[in-house]
Symmetry: C2
Subunit: 400 residues, 2 copies
């Protein structure tokens, strides 16, 4: 039999830039990421902005217009500036994809033009998906405005929307053209969003970097009281670890391993079970707490380290427990049992179930099954811990 063996590698390259005051005219950061066009007009940019961001930054659109006027030799703003709802709503309405595609078509955005997305992770996911499929991919500049998107999702290679009620059922692996993190956007976040993003920093510290975990512990109280400099430091270190992981691993996730999804099997299910009353980072914090306790009960991480994790999450102000976690645990296959999240997680990854547990702080280990009884016991422990005060956390013991 004749055959042709096709093998090649596609190179990707982008910068994650950290700035303050991205649309102040004396800040060239944004204009500098636009590739100069030696052959003709300066390239077009279509902006898509999270409504929540516009609400807290009512001058944003006019700032962008002034900025564009100042740098008119570098890029051209198209007529439409689109705003879309923020949060999970952005990912639940496929018509929003169509709205963005219509603007791409009407404004003649091509593969050498740009779409700039300003917003939280959900908006970046939505806009990224539209940008990925229009003309097989137009250039995307992500301007993440939340802690979670600045330290994690906004710097990665994934996008997606929800479909058939399933999280990220539609999406693509498609690296951005550039990412610009502006710390000023963080100042107007509500406390829940400020906090939520730290869950991904805790996660990446736990599986990869004990010294980063110590930094998170050291600064937890300051961050909880909204101090910006330690938050900026955490975001940079988390983003570095995240970027290095993508670079060193399997960027388009062709295998079954997904180390960065530590704590996420339960988190995804809890988001769905709470109809997104829990924000992603809040669900991840609970998912981490659950999988750390499970790791302990499974004979891995020590009780002392387990309690350090629980205390950090608690100090930052995260809820440790929601009633949904305990629902229908004795009914295998019930759609509102968190245990169903394991199979859904396996299905989304495809292939073999692969779950990250902890051996110690800073070191994850992959397993291919979890014991439902031990999960149930972990949930009951977590409920007990959550019921205690911050200063009087009940003891954890493998014996009970």
């Amino acid at each position: 039999m004749k055959k042709i063996q096709q093998t090649f590698a596609v190179p990707f390259r982008y910068e994650v830039l950290f700035t303050e005051g991205i649309f102040e005219p004396n800040n060239p950061c944004f204009a500098d990421v636009i590739e100069a066009n030696p052959h003709g007009q300066s390239p077009k940019i279509l902006f898509v902005i999270d409504e929540g961001v516009v609400q807290f930054h009512p001058q944003l659109v006019s700032n962008i217009e002034h900025y564009a006027a100042h740098y008119s030799d570098r890029f051209r703003l198209v007529k439409h500036i689109i705003t879309v709802p923020g949060g999970e709503a952005a990912k639940n309405d496929p018509d929003l994809v169509k709205t963005i595609l219509e603007a791409v078509e009407q404004e003649r955005i091509d593969r050498h033009s740009y779409v700039a997305a300003i917003g939280g992770g959900a908006v970046l996911d939505l806009v990224g998906f539209a940008a990925s499929v229009a003309h097989r991919g137009v250039r995307l500049i992500r301007i993440p405005t939340t802690v979670l998107s600045q330290n994690d999702s906004g710097i990665g290679v994934k996008n997606g929307i929800n479909y058939f009620g399933k999280k990220n059922f539609l999406g693509a692996f498609d690296p951005p053209y550039a990412v610009i993190n502006d710390a000023h956007f963080l100042l107007t976040l509500d406390d829940r969003d400020w906090r939520a993003g730290i869950a991904e920093a805790i996660k990446v510290a736990l599986i990869k970097d004990a010294s980063f975990f110590e930094l998170l512990e050291r600064d937890a109280a300051a961050v909880a009281s909204r101090s910006l400099p330690p938050m900026q430091e955490q975001i940079f270190r988390c983003a570095e670890l995240h970027a290095a992981h993508i670079r060193g691993g399997d960027p388009f996730e062709k295998g079954s391993s997904r180390p960065l999804d530590f704590g996420h099997w339960a988190a995804h299910k809890l988001e769905q079970m709470t109809s997104f009353r829990l924000r992603h980072g809040e669900a991840v914090a609970i998912g981490i707490a659950l999988d750390v306790i499970y790791s302990h009960l499974d004979g891995r991480i020590s009780e002392e380290d387990t309690m350090r994790v629980i205390r950090l999450i608690d100090t930052l102000g995260f809820p440790l427990f929601v009633p949904e976690l305990k629902a229908h645990l004795n009914e295998p296959g019930h759609p509102y049992s968190v245990l169903g999240g394991l199979e859904e997680f396996r299905e989304h990854l495809g292939g073999v179930l692969t779950i990250m547990l902890l051996d110690r702080i800073g070191h994850g280990v992959e397993v291919h099954e979890m014991n439902p009884d031990l999960i149930t016991r972990s949930i009951l422990h977590l409920e007990e811990l959550a019921a205690g005060s911050k200063n009087k956390v009940p003891a954890l013991s493998r014996a009970d």
Copy 2:
């Protein structure tokens, strides 16, 4: 300003296999491409089949079912087998994407399951797009059934559907998991589809390989009278050249250069202007003829070589001209003027207009503009050539 420089390369690897009788139980080719799953059940496969293929191969579905039963330890057929309209209709109805996605969801096709697409290039493009965006990409096995898809589109890295009336407005760069070319499918093609695919072989020969062009000339009469062995040889050599081009170049087309789109700027526009009465390969043949004559009038390829190209296209039975080619040439910007195809081509590529012309047979050269008057003269020449008989082609001269 702090920054993170992200750089990585994503490796892709797939085989293009050539076989005959893909679903005969004694042919292990198809079963052998499925990755063994050491951890559990054999992987699932969802088939999506071109209705036109089913019409000419009424036993196909039951052959697949028997084949699957024979190799039940290697893969599992899911309950749904989807059929979709063939030809451009497949790409004009976004609801077909949804139909495929629904089956992916209902049958729990995951990133380690397979979608197998059987059909012509349009069906492969449609199914490929759905497979690319479901779960950020499920594994796609392409089984191209036409000359055009076996030697060109089916072995490449692109998919797409039409949207807002624009060809391939939605799509992705996403290499397949495997491609299997079964020569038996070619036997039931009508003469137009049999012929149409050769246009891409002529194209790739003209820009890359003079010896391949000579082979095409040598076998033109035999191929025109439906001899299979020379067609198989042409398909293999064209596929090899195409695969090598992707491997050696810019697979995801981040630049503006698109050498394999020789002859395509006019072809895309003609397909649209004729409401797809012209098949893609037929439009490409006319587009090639036009750009070869233009290359000659522009002082590049010799008259002798120009006429060799015209004679080859003519011998194979392609039309050299359609009335739409001549319409509205004096009305710049008219939507039904082929000249508008240049700007639409630039827009789809993005960036700078880049057109391939010919210096000689086997050697293309890129230019960044075309002269509308010279295009018009080339069209009038082509009309004259088409009007002559095959044995009495009017002379071509730069003087007139």
